[in-house]
């Protein structure tokens, strides 16, 4: 719980710092973000998504922060499942948000339009447990917008999400996640 707060604090401080030290037009903000996850177990496939993915990126130092409210996920195979997701697995009251904050490894010139295959290195926090991750992303840079797409997977065990033995066949230990976000230059 303490860690959770510290990460939140870190995030807030990062945001403040980003805002404070940004150079002109160096901050991009998510205007349209969607995150989808799929659990493919032998008995059941669960798909859920949230269109409330939020985040920003500072192109001057290539740092970024993305987050999504856990309760904003929709889909699932029924309301009960969604309730379980929020109450039993992610404990959304305790951990309302999931984060990914860090920096892009490759050096990118954001003024140049094009497609860039990059790796984002950062801390992924889900269920209040943070893990350092390197995540492959594709950046499509056009005039004033950055389109980010990424596919990666999350192991439940890495984030201390315990699945009861009974539902083992219904929930995959490896959750596949897909992110699509459009970022725009933040105009004051």
């Amino acid at each position: 719980m303490k860690k959770n707060i510290s990460v939140l604090l870190f995030f807030i401080v990062t945001c403040i710092v980003l805002l404070a030290f940004r150079t002109v037009n160096s901050i991009y903000k998510v205007t349209d973000g969607k995150i989808t996850f799929v659990s493919e177990a032998s008995f059941e496939t669960i798909t859920a998504f949230s269109e409330k993915l939020n985040g920003m990126m500072d192109t001057s130092n290539q740092e970024f922060a993305f987050f999504v409210a856990n309760k904003s996920f929709e889909g699932f195979n029924g309301l009960l499942q969604r309730e379980h997701f929020n109450e039993s697995y992610l404990e959304s009251d305790k951990n309302p948000k999931s984060f990914f904050t860090g920096r892009i490894i490759e050096k990118i010139i954001f003024s140049k339009p094009g497609i860039f295959y990059v790796r984002a290195k950062g801390l992924l926090m889900i269920h209040g447990v943070e893990q350092e991750r390197i995540i492959k992303c594709v950046l499509l840079i056009e005039n004033g917008t950055i389109k980010v797409t990424s596919k990666f997977s999350v192991f439940l065990a890495d984030h201390d999400i315990n699945v009861p033995r009974i539902v083992f066949e219904k929930i995959s230990p490896e959750i596949k996640i897909q992110v699509e976000a459009v970022m725009h230059e933040k105009i004051e």
Binding site: I105, K121, R133, I134, K136
Partner: protein, 978 residues
């Protein structure tokens, strides 16, 4: 023009001045790479578990088995495989890092991309290593380092993790699982335990000489050596964080270090521009630059690697070199002067080299910068020309040397002051072949026997008192020509004699060894005592003799020659080191007998020894165990204690096939009989000299003897079913008794037709078939017999009926009536009667006749009966001509039925008997109105039965009999002609 000459002269002097006089070098040879691979540049080298060498090059990954360079094909559509890092991990996977950041894995015989979700780095992979937790670490030039824990890839860099720098040159692990990496910004120590990263840095602020650390090597003693970009090498003691720069590197001007190789006593440093530099850090400290020495002509050294045979692989920018390293070195010039005709060699107690050549006696001192200093000694007592045949240092530090014709001298080692030893018996005029001794006793081997000198109490004085005794053929020796005297540890004195074998003197007196001890050789010229107290004798023509105590505590001589592994019979000297080797100096090379392994090893061309051709007393053991051999034109220095490497070729199976199908050599195989053509290919890896590897194989179950070959394949066509074991061994010499063996057992199965189950099954099936055949034949025979019997019975019945007197009587009676009334009718009657009987006779033999024929019989019969009953008997036959011709019936069947009808029924004109014969569907029907006779005629009842049985046997359905009360109906099927 003038200036060119001026500059040339200046340049010449510069070279002369800058190049110190230095002459001792290891041997190096160029590995011949295929012409097609010429522009390939080797970047990195490793050896895998099967001892194959892997070369990472700018044009892909190659492996080398000592004979061929093979390019490893890749499944990945990499445009360019520029290998910059290689590592063979504990699971046998070979990790390959490329210049473009891509990581590949070589496993299960194929090279594939390392499949990770995180993606590959984009900058050059500079190093790969596995820590003791099984994590694989990658260093990159620009992205810091990565670690893969089997699941995820993690990154350490400057910004997030405080790595010293993102530009990492090298990566090594220590025993505690820590990772040490050299970067552009210092040295970083990283740990990754339970996903927790820790980084500690060493920079110039901690005392590093340079922040750019190009190479790191761990020393077994618990510290690490680092090589820098600009300031040479240094030592870091991690426990105390102490950094130490050796004096030799305080004024480093050789530029960037590209590679480092740590040996027992030396570090080899590959530089970018100044070739290979050797730093000897043992008690003898010196640095040498090999650039310019024989074979070391390449300034840019890319990488250094030592294989498990002790060969050092040197990848230069355009060449691949190999060297035996610190184990053997050569001294070819002294102070720039070439060496020639060495007659005697000695390493004194200060590790100085003493030798004699045609010019006299010389003493060589080695300096710490790799140069040497020589001092020559001349003596007024010695007349020119002279020859010093042997040099010896006594327990008091004095140098003795024996000459040809002029006796011996004792001399002070430092200042060269000498005395010529003389006595009443003209020792001054003796030819001294060798000198030996123990404490104050000195023994001389001369051409007129052996001489013993017992030094007096003033032995520390140059001119001390001494007692001189002579031993010759008159006093117990066999011969006056003594080549060498040896004092063994048991106080015995051994004499090597010319032409008269070996003589030993102990307290009991003289003992002679010769033919009675199964010693064939006559002339011995050298003796040595090994670590275990065994004695070795070199003969001129019969190899080596070894005097050893066997298990039964008997002392015995053993002979060694070519057949038991001695590489050469041309022995010139013997010497034993104190770690269990006997060094045998031969004409063609230097052999060593290892007492622990009881086998010979052999230094030859691969180690740079072409011809030795040494004089008798030119082998000397220094106090630190180094053997010096004065060869014709060079000194050879052999450090036997540094040679702890594999001495035999590493034998492995490459592949085995049965009719081109691969066999899994890890498992026992049952090979089908149809695939009985076997081929084995194997390799005996010996990079030192692949051409000297011999193989020997034996197919247990097929061959009785071992088969010698140099081929790397053995094929066995058309093998018979049975159990086999393919045994294989290899050796560098003709002696295979000490070589390792590998083998593979398998079974060639019987072909299917020789399997027991197949034979049993076939037999059962055959028996079954015969039984079935017999049974069917039996049934058939029975059937035919029964049919015959029934036919006979029916014929008999019919005949019996026809010759029934009643019938005849009736017939004749009728005839008698007609004869009077109508003669022509009577004739007709007789004709019909005859016809009837003839037809019975014609058809009775047959099984079936045409219905037409049967109806003819019926017509005749009915005609005969109608003459008697007239209109009282009526018969209606309604059968088409087609039916009567196509259908068949057992003969006389109808006749019997009709006769039965007539027999059992009464008939009158008012109540005529009407017999109808017609077809109803498929059935043929014989129907009559029922008017039973009052007095029944005797009936045998055989008629119907007979017909039924005959029809059954012919495969026709049984006849059906129906009595409706008014009619009697017989129904049956006829056989079709088809």
């Amino acid at each position: 023009m003038n200036s060119i000459i001026k500059y040339s002269i200046l340049w010449f002097f510069m070279c002369f001045l800058s190049q110190p006089m230095m002459a001792q070098f290891p041997y190096v040879r160029t590995i011949e790479i295929d012409k097609s691979l010429q522009d390939i540049k080797v970047q990195t080298i490793i050896q895998d578990k099967k001892k194959l060498m892997w070369l990472g090059t700018n044009k892909g990954l190659y492996n080398y088995d000592g004979t061929d360079f093979k390019l490893t094909p890749t499944n990945k559509n990499e445009t360019e495989i520029f290998v910059t890092a290689l590592y063979s991990d504990s699971k046998g996977i070979i990790w390959v890092g490329l210049k473009n950041g891509v990581i590949l894995q070589y496993k299960n015989d194929s090279l594939n991309a390392f499949d990770i979700e995180e993606g590959h780095p984009k900058e050059q992979i500079t190093g790969i290593i596995e820590d003791n937790n099984g994590n694989i670490w990658f260093s990159t030039y620009g992205e810091g380092i990565y670690v893969w824990n089997g699941k995820h890839l993690f990154n350490f860099n400057v910004n997030d993790d405080h790595l010293a720098d993102d530009y990492v040159y090298c990566i090594v692990t220590d025993n505690n699982g820590r990772i040490w990496c050299g970067t552009d910004g210092g040295l970083s120590v990283c740990t990754f335990i339970n996903k927790q990263k820790k980084v500690k840095n060493y920079t110039t602020q901690n005392g590093l000489s340079d922040n750019i650390i190009k190479r790191i090597i761990w020393d077994k003693k618990g510290f690490l050596w680092f090589g820098t970009d600009n300031f040479g090498i240094g030592k870091l003691y991690p426990d105390s964080n102490k950094i130490e720069i050796p004096d030799e590197f305080k004024n480093w001007n050789q530029g960037a270090i590209e590679s480092m190789l740590l040996m027992e006593r030396e570090i080899w440093i590959g530089t970018n521009e100044n070739g290979l530099i050797d730093y000897e850090f043992s008690d003898r400290k010196r640095t040498r630059n090999f650039l310019g020495a024989d074979g070391f002509n390449y300034p840019g050294i890319q990488c250094l690697f030592r294989d498990d045979e002790g060969n050092i692989w040197i990848a230069c920018k355009d060449h691949l070199l190999q060297s035996p390293g610190e184990r053997i070195e050569f001294l070819k010039t002294i102070e720039g002067k070439p060496i020639a005709n060495i007659h005697a060699t000695l390493i004194d107690n200060k590790k100085r080299l003493w030798f004699s050549d045609d010019d006299g006696l010389h003493r060589v001192t080695f300096n710490s910068n790799g140069t040497e200093q020589s001092k020559s000694f001349s003596f007024s007592e010695l007349k020119n020309p002279y020859k010093i045949l042997t040099i010896y240092q006594d327990a008091f530090g004095f140098i003795w040397f024996g000459t040809f014709d002029q006796g011996i001298f004792r001399m002070e080692a430092e200042n060269g002051k000498a005395i010529h030893i003389n006595d009443k018996k003209d020792l001054m005029k003796q030819s001294v072949l060798s000198i030996t001794g123990k404490r104050s006793t000195i023994w001389l081997a001369t051409l007129s026997g052996a001489v013993k000198l017992e030094l007096g109490d003033d032995a520390l004085q140059l001119n001390c008192g001494m007692q001189i005794d002579y031993f010759n053929s008159k006093t117990g020796l066999n011969n006056n020509f003594i080549y060498q005297v040896l004092l063994d540890r048991n106080g015995r004195i051994w004499f090597a004699q010319d032409g008269k074998g070996i003589t030993m003197m102990d307290k009991a007196g003289f003992h002679h060894f010769g033919e009675k001890d199964s010693i064939k050789a006559k002339t011995f010229f050298s003796i040595t005592e090994d670590r275990n107290g065994g004695l070795w004798f070199a003969s001129t023509d019969n190899g080596l003799y070894r005097y050893k105590t066997d298990e039964k505590k008997n002392d015995k001589f053993y002979n060694y020659n070519l057949s038991n592994g001695l590489p050469s019979m041309h022995i010139t000297g013997l010497c034993a080191d104190n770690i269990g080797n006997v060094i045998i100096v031969c004409m063609e090379g230097i052999a060593m007998f290892n007492l622990d392994k009881e086998s010979f090893n052999w230094y030859q061309k691969a180690e740079g020894i072409e011809t030795v051709d040494a004089d008798l007393n030119t082998t000397s053991l220094s106090i630190d165990g180094v053997v010096w051999i004065g060869a014709r034109t060079q000194f050879i220095e052999i450090n036997t204690s540094l040679d702890k490497f594999r001495k035999t070729p590493f034998l492995t199976f490459e592949r085995a096939t049965a009719f081109l199908d691969p066999i899994d050599l890890n498992n026992y195989a049952n090979i089908p009989g149809s695939k009985n053509h076997l081929a084995f290919s194997y390799q005996g890896i010996w990079f030192s000299n692949q051409s000297e590897v011999n193989f020997q194989y034996k197919m247990e179950g097929l061959n009785r003897e071992w088969i010698n070959t140099r081929d790397r394949t053995a094929t066995f066509p058309d093998m018979k079913p049975g159990r086999y074991t393919f045994r294989l061994r290899c050796s560098r010499t003709n002696d295979f008794t000490h070589s390792n063996e590998i083998n593979y057992s398998f079974v060639i199965l019987n072909p299917v037709y020789r399997q027991w189950w197949f034979i049993t099954f076939s037999l059962i099936a055959l028996i079954g078939l015969i039984w079935l055949f017999l049974k069917i034949r039996d049934q058939r025979v029975n059937f035919v017999q029964r049919l015959e019997k029934e036919k006979m019975a029916s014929q008999f019945e019919t005949l019996k009926n026809q010759v029934n007197p009643h019938f005849l009587f009736n017939s004749f009676n009728t005839l008698a009536n007609i004869i009077d009334d109508d003669k022509t009718k009577a004739i007709e009657y007789i004709e019909k009667l005859t016809d009837f009987f003839r037809q019975i006779l014609v058809h009775r033999e047959k099984d079936l006749i045409k219905l037409e024929e049967e109806l003819e019989i019926i017509n005749d019969y009915v005609f005969l009966q109608q003459q008697r009953f007239e209109t009282a008997l009526k018969i209606n036959i309604s059968v088409t001509k087609e039916q009567s011709q196509s259908l068949l019936i057992p003969p006389l069947a109808l006749q019997i039925l009709v006769e039965n009808v007539i027999k059992h029924n009464s008939m009158t004109t008012q109540h005529p008997l009407i017999i109808e014969l017609y077809f109803e569907n498929e059935f043929f029907i014989v129907k009559n109105n029922l008017q039973p006779k009052l007095n029944k005629e005797r009936s045998t009842g055989t008629g119907l039965q007979n017909i039924t049985r005959r029809m059954q046997m012919l495969g026709l359905p049984a006849i059906e009999v129906e009595n409706t009360g008014s009619h009697f109906i017989v129904k049956f099927k006829l056989a079709d002609r088809k």
